[in-house]
């Protein structure tokens, strides 16, 4: 209390309050956004093919699924959780979505509903394991990951689901006003979840639970129900992502999404989410997802082998988190 202390929230302070809040959030994303811009400019100069509408749309569509599932992961990470089951669940959703189209003649929309339902069920399972059985999220979702993958293989007999009608490609390959449909969905999902997290009670509780679960409980938040809700909503997005992935390749792939969890956790963390809970924003996660996608895209454009890509992605993960931590420490000590 020694230095700065003002009477709370005077009218004069409103704008600067608003700014401070924005700025303090933005720190987390600043490093990632800077890296994204630098990489973008570098690639523009390095490859004549980079800055073309086609390529940018491709990047958008390629990143859509990762971005959507990373959005789901971010919500879970904010609650101090983690979801290792995203890859299995996305595969399960995509495969079942494809099967109901092929075997039961469902429309693509009905199939999407099925995929989302599968994701929601898996999310519900994760949520109940965490809240009712009180299994830590890492373990609960590790189990779901294993069980989910097993189920995908059992259901499909380990064979891809092929022979789908052309309409199945709508979500993944369709366009709307020349923009990939998958990109439109991603934008809607990201904006929607960002809005949910920052402007609604649901979002407020999500941060509160990640910050101090007991405090949230004692404040009257029904933490069991609410935490389960976060996992279910995450599952819904994972199911949607799995369906888009299946649609993009016009088939249900039982092998889809192996080690996808690491990619999406990396995206969230690069974008400023903290594995200790209570922190993270969707805009950062989206930036993180595109940063990784851009590295991959750029590597192919510049004909850099996959092996160097892995090294580069690793170094970017280190660098992003290092600089973020560094800036946070500085900001905090300026606090």
């Amino acid at each position: 209390m020694s230095s700065v202390e003002a009477t709370a929230g005077t009218q004069r302070g409103e704008l600067s309050d608003w700014l401070r809040e924005r700025v303090s959030h933005a720190v987390s994303e600043f490093t990632a956004a800077t890296a994204l811009v630098v990489l973008f400019i570098a690639l523009t100069f390095a490859s004549p093919y980079f800055l073309t509408a086609d390529n940018l749309f491709n990047i958008g569509a390629q990143t859509a699924v990762i971005a959507i599932i990373a959005t789901a992961q971010t919500m879970v990470i904010i609650t101090k959780g983690i979801d290792l089951s995203v890859g299995s669940v996305a595969a399960l959703a995509g495969v079942l979505g494809a099967m109901v189209v092929r075997d039961l003649g469902f429309s693509v929309w009905a199939a999407t509903a099925v995929a989302i339902g599968v994701g929601a069920l898996a999310g519900l399972l994760n949520g109940l394991l965490v809240t009712v059985a009180r299994i830590p999220p890492f373990i609960a979702t590790l189990g779901t990951m294993s069980v989910g993958r097993g189920l995908v293989f059992i259901i499909t007999g380990a064979v891809g689901v092929y022979g789908l009608p052309r309409s199945f490609q709508l979500l993944g390959n369709g366009e709307i006003l020349g923009i990939p449909f998958a990109v439109v969905i991603t934008v809607l999902v990201a904006v929607g979840v960002a809005f949910l997290l920052s402007q609604t009670r649901f979002g407020q509780y999500t941060y509160a639970m990640g910050s101090n679960l007991e405090a949230a409980r004692r404040s009257g938040v029904r933490v069991g129900r609410h935490l389960t809700g976060v996992y279910v909503l995450a599952g819904v997005l994972v199911g949607l992502g799995g369906m888009i992935a299946a649609s993009r390749v016009n088939s249900g792939q039982p092998n889809y999404g192996i080690s996808l969890e690491l990619d999406v956790i990396a995206a969230a963390v690069i974008g400023g989410a903290s594995l200790f809970g209570g922190q993270g924003r969707i805009v950062g996660t989206i930036i993180g997802a595109f940063l990784i996608a851009l590295v991959r895209n750029g590597a192919v454009l510049l004909d850099i082998s996959i092996h160097y890509q892995q090294v580069i992605v690793g170094v970017i993960i280190w660098a992003a988190v290092y600089f973020d931590q560094y800036r946070r420490r500085r900001l905090e000590s300026r606090g």
Binding site: D54, N55, Q62, A158, S251, V300
Partner: protein
């Protein structure tokens, strides 16, 4: 000293097995159309022989070499009557084969053998490398004279089959100085990934004229990327394997040619010869199961049909 490597040598003598037989059939990995055709062949042979059960089990990824070593070992423990399997790694699985032989369990290899390959262990397979050289030739023929840019979509760098096909393709390509390899990216046997890398290759090389995709998911992803880019028919695809969607691609002209092995025959031979060996003491001898190049022209010929749509009623095993 007291430490020594366990010797895998055995006399190879087989037990008398006139009664019911239990055979383990192990693919490189479960989860692809190709291996399911192998399975169909194996089960067909078992059914025709009568009183033979096939236990089909495998690891989930071709890269899980150690997992397969353990699996074979567990089958040895279980004392199955014979083991028919495809080695994920020629060198790594050699000791596993030795241990089976030492336990008097005969072994037959399908699709991929071991190195060294014991003389009493047959191999029913096609030559991946030679077939990949052929694939390069097909690509060159399809593209015709003049300079062309081509790309390669491999699947799992570091796995042996991948290495053989990539080596073969590059060796074949070396005979055509007018073809320039401008891109090489892996799909990790994931269709989504195959599509993604192909899209990026197409962006980086707008003049790309041909692609060789080295396994089923790679072919499917590459075809989809090319279709999405509106370049169907303009970019020649030479693929591998014969999943239904690949066949459809050949019919529609998206895919120029497919290198098709005869997985049904591999599975069939593996089990059939093993049963004859166990029951009639017939010696085991290797055989080439052959490779077919499927194009739009020959796709409806009876011979190709038998390979593409194998059925136990009329097995393609002559």
């Amino acid at each position: 000293g007291g430490v020594e490597v366990r010797d895998g040598g055995g006399d190879g003598a087989t037990k008398d097995a006139s009664g019911p037989l239990k055979l383990a059939v192990v693919p490189k990995a479960v989860g692809a159309d190709y291996w399911n055709t192998v399975k169909a062949g194996a089960e067909c042979a078992a059914q025709r022989a009568g009183d033979v059960t096939v236990q089909w089990d495998g690891v989930t990824a071709e890269t899980d070499v150690e997992g397969q070593v353990n699996l074979i070992q567990n089958f040895v423990t279980k004392k199955v009557d014979g083991i028919v399997y495809a080695a994920t790694d020629s060198s790594a699985l050699a000791p596993a084969t030795d241990k089976a032989l030492a336990a008097n369990i005969p072994v037959a290899m399908i699709d991929s053998g071991t190195s060294p390959q014991p003389s009493n262990v047959p191999l029913y397979a096609t030559d991946n490398r030679a077939s990949a050289v052929e694939a390069a030739k097909l690509l060159a023929t399809e593209l015709g004279p003049g300079n062309h840019e081509v790309a390669l979509v491999e699947f799992q760098p570091g796995s042996q089959t991948n290495t053989e096909r990539v080596d073969g393709f590059k060796a074949g390509l070396a005979q055509y100085p007018n073809l320039k390899l401008v891109g090489q990216q892996p799909s990790k046997s994931d269709v989504n990934e195959a599509r993604r890398v192909t899209e990026n290759i197409l962006t980086a090389n707008p003049k790309l004229a041909g692609i060789f995709a080295a396994n089923e998911p790679s072919v499917l992803g590459a075809a989809q990327a090319i279709q999405a880019a509106g370049k169907s028919g303009k970019v020649v695809i030479i693929g591998w394997d014969a999943a239904p969607d690949e066949i459809a691609g050949v019919r529609s002209g998206q895919i120029s040619a497919l290198v098709v092995q005869n997985p049904f025959k591999m599975g069939y031979f593996g089990v059939d010869k093993m049963v004859k060996h166990l029951r009639d003491k017939a010696p085991l001898a290797s055989a080439d199961t052959g490779v077919t190049f499927v194009t739009k022209e020959n796709i409806d010929s009876a011979e190709i049909k038998a390979v593409l749509e194998p059925s136990c009623a009329n097995p393609p095993v002559q």
